[in-house]
């Protein structure tokens, strides 16, 4: 695929995982979209940061726990998950409260590298401004 046809797609996640269907639907769209070889990133801000907490267990609410599916993203070359620092802090969370998500870099002897990158609001603002397409959930 030629470089001109590759666009920067950002999926912006701003909602908590189980109160509404948005978060699950966003993840489904990302997994479907991963087939199209675009330059994909995910942003997690506001309540969206709650989607990535470690240790989610939905046994008590009769809803599917879809958080393990985030671990599959690396296999689809979706390995830029930007998490906003200010949103984490405002909610009493730190990076250590999040799932450890990794991808394997084929250009570096399949070394496992972290997919989650905690960024400041200003950094995220700049990354957002650089996108060709933003899909917000």
């Amino acid at each position: 695929m030629s470089d001109e046809s590759i666009k920067k797609f950002m999926y912006m996640n701003r909602k908590a995982p189980y109160g509404t269907i948005y978060a699950l639907e966003a993840l489904e769209v990302v997994l479907i979209g991963a087939a199209f070889d675009q330059d994909v990133s995910l942003a997690f801000l506001d309540d969206g940061v709650f989607q990535l907490t470690e240790g989610q267990n939905t046994d008590g609410i009769g809803v599917k726990n879809f958080s393990p599916a985030f671990r599959a993203l690396g296999d689809y070359d979706v390995n830029k998950l930007y998490v906003e620092k200010e949103s984490l802090e405002a909610r009493g969370l730190a990076e250590s409260d999040l799932m450890e998500l990794v991808w394997e870099d084929e250009d570096d002897d399949w070394a496992e590298k972290p997919s989650i990158k905690v960024v400041s609001r200003d950094e995220l603002k700049a990354i957002m401004g650089d996108q060709d397409v933003i899909m917000s959930f």
Binding site: M12, R14, Y22, L45, D46, R121, L124, K125, A126, M128, G129, Q131, D132, V133, I134, S136, F137
Partner: protein, 100 residues
């Protein structure tokens, strides 16, 4: 190149406008539509946030009128536009980001 942001929730009920304003770049545009237009009323916390934001703010006149918000009530610095202006904004920006 820049982004057109749209906000369709009332700032008196939801935090979407605040979050959007905090992430809009100087060359971007923020357009208030549907219940988002309540954010354009002068003399409110939302209007203060808009005044402090370093970006370009628009509000959709049809949605204001539908809700009985006269244009005299709209805060200074907020540009009232109609659907044709909405179309212009879409064509002038690289991408649209809907703060749902």
């Amino acid at each position: 190149m820049s982004i057109l942001h749209t906000v369709n929730k009332s700032p008196f009920q939801k935090g979407d406008l605040s979050s959007c304003l905090a992430h809009a770049n100087a060359e971007d545009a923020v357009l208030l539509i549907e219940d988002g237009v309540y954010g354009a009323i002068a003399g409110t916390d939302a209007a203060n946030e808009i005044a402090a934001a370093n970006t370009n703010i628009y509000v959709l006149g049809g949605d204001l009128a539908a809700r009985g918000i006269a244009s005299e009530k709209v805060a200074q610095g907020v540009n009232v536009i109609e659907y044709d202006g909405f179309v212009d904004l879409v064509t002038e920006h690289k991408a649209v980001n809907s703060w749902l």
